[in-house]
């Protein structure tokens, strides 16, 4: 391919590689034949040059529709399944949407201002679509409140890290992810499956974890990614036995030593890597040495990614970052030098940087700053702990104090609660300054995970 030629997903979906599939719990669709299929009942041509809202609840149909729209639409905005309906109109306006692809056409009443196309289960077509342009990919940030921001990417930026990693060794991978593929972390995996010549296994809403893992096993999944919260949930469930992927990837939250060690024990034969990526900053790097944090030597320029630490936060400039926030009055995505401030705070300890938390998630204890994540990292080291959440609690004395909610590991004797609580507090006192030691510890059955796969933080 000459550099001037447009690069689209179609280029990776030819009939040469046999046996490629994409599946959810209900369907298995061939990717080898995907250029001969359509979800859009042969109406793809009508979407040429259009700005398309891809509002398809079904992940598999969304996945196929993305491959059809790429190279045809001017831009496509991916809607995650949990998108608040109240925000849709603002997003449509900001993104200049003039066509909607949906599996619920009746929900879109204003069909006079935009074209509404029904997306259906893929069916055979003899029409061959051609790539005409580089489609702009729009994704939404996963913040907890307010209208999400629209983040603009090119396919080249989205796939920069995948191309840099080079082709997978051995048989083409079968990828799976606990993420929804309409989010950055999940889309990365769907794109990896496409570019690597492999297959893809999707999540199914409402499916029990044990059934999901049985399906991953049955489909021969070799490569799988999720957030540390997803992985802790899997480790807690006891469903992991019998499943043995070759590559286990974490991203989207801080991968602390406890979760890395837990995965090492559960998957002794797998490579385990934690990647740093965000919707805005793109994929920064992956660390594969099984240790939390990242080597300080990654700062500077490597693989066309430039990283620096300023005012305690990680800043990234690369061809893999998003190019802009989209919409009227949208904020600047990068600073004047082109660096994206990730808002992820890091701390140098020895020759390694450790993530300590989000800038926006800081708890203020009588004027002293605390990142809940650094406390959780200490608590999670205790062998009887599966998962924890540190949070602020109002105090009439100091304004706030830190408290912790903890899920104990399976088979942990409840009568040992007092002893475990004392041991955890002793660990915290040994590793943390006094104001970061939880004032109280509560043992809980469950902690909420957001739709984006992250530990829910009400005070963040």
């Amino acid at each position: 391919m000459s550099p001037r030629e447009i690069f689209t997903l179609r280029d990776y979906l030819g009939p040469e590689l046999k046996g490629r599939t994409i599946s959810d719990a209900r369907r298995l669709v061939s990717l080898t034949d995907s250029l001969g299929q359509t979800c859009l009942a042969d109406r793809l041509g009508e979407l040429s040059r259009r700005s398309v809202l891809l509002a398809v609840s079904d992940q598999l149909i969304s996945a196929i529709a993305m491959t059809e729209l790429d190279g045809v639409a001017r831009r496509m905005l991916l809607c995650p399944p949990d998108l608040n309906a109240e925000h849709v109109n603002a997003l449509i306006e900001d993104a200049g949407i003039d066509a909607i692809v949906t599996d619920h056409p009746s929900r879109w009443a204003d069909a006079d201002i935009y074209l509404v196309l029904a997306a259906r289960v893929p069916e055979r077509t003899i029409r061959k679509a051609k790539s005409e342009r580089a489609t702009e990919w729009l994704m939404l940030t996963s913040g907890t409140s307010g209208v999400p921001k629209i983040v603009g990417h090119s396919l080249e930026a989205l796939t920069g890290a995948i191309v840099a990693d080079g082709p997978a060794r051995g048989a083409p991978p079968v990828w799976a992810t606990f993420y929804d593929i309409r989010r950055y972390g999940g889309l990365q995996i769907w794109l990896r499956a496409i570019l690597s010549g492999g297959s893809m296994v999707l999540t199914e809403p409402g499916e029990a974890l044990a059934d999901h893992v049985a399906r991953l096993h049955a489909r021969g999944v070799t490569h799988i990614s999720g957030t540390p919260s997803h992985w802790r949930k899997l480790l807690m469930s006891g469903s992991a036995s019998g499943f043995s992927p070759r590559y286990v990837r974490l991203s989207g939250e801080i991968a602390d030593q406890a979760v890395l060690d837990g995965l090492r024990r559960a998957f002794p034969d797998a490579s385990i890597g934690h990647a740093y990526a965000s919707t805005e900053a793109g994929v920064g790097f992956a660390v594969n040495d099984g240790r939390e944090g990242f080597p300080a030597s990654l700062l500077g320029t490597r693989d066309s990614v430039e990283m620096k630490v300023e005012d305690g936060s990680l800043r990234i400039r690369s061809t893999r970052t998003a190019h802009a926030y989209v919409g009227l009055g949208a904020a600047q995505l990068a600073d004047a030098d082109g660096f994206v401030d990730t808002g992820d705070m890091v701390e140098l300890r020895g020759d390694r940087y450790h993530f300590v938390g989000r800038r926006g998630g800081i708890i203020n204890i009588g004027g002293l700053k605390v990142h809940p994540e650094e406390i959780e990292a200490v608590i999670n080291r205790h062998p009887d702990v599966r998962m924890s959440r540190a949070r602020s609690r109002k105090s009439p004395i100091t304004g706030s104090i830190v408290v912790a909610d903890i899920i104990l590991a399976d088979g942990c004797d409840a009568s040992r609660g007092g002893e475990i609580r004392e041991a955890i507090l002793a660990d915290c006192r040994a590793s943390l300054p006094p104001h970061k030691v939880p004032a109280t510890i509560k043992f809980v059955e469950a902690l909420d995970i957001t739709a984006a796969g992250k530990l829910a933080r009400s005070d963040a």
Binding site: L425, H435, A439
Partner: protein
């Protein structure tokens, strides 16, 4: 256990954790002389709220923070549980 005994026992526990040597906890002892800093009191009040179900210092906005151990205990005793 009486409210008083639960408060004294919680103070002793926080003192051990904060490595504070408590003098004898007489009613007249000023809270300042207990050796607790504000973080120590914040922890104590949070634990007592979990244990006794009340935080007398948040309930009433203009409640003055007590000056002595006796005042502190009475603040809890005087709140209807």
């Amino acid at each position: 256990m009486s409210v008083r005994l639960r408060i004294i026992s919680a103070m002793q526990r926080v003192a051990v954790e904060q490595q504070v040597t408590l003098p004898p906890l007489d009613d007249d002892l000023s809270l300042h002389e207990t050796g607790f800093d504000s973080l120590g009191f914040a922890i104590l009040v949070a634990r007592l709220e979990d244990d006794l179900g009340i935080d007398p210092f948040t309930i009433s906005e203009d409640a003055a923070f007590p000056l002595t151990v006796g005042d502190f205990v009475r603040a809890y005793e005087n709140v209807p549980a």
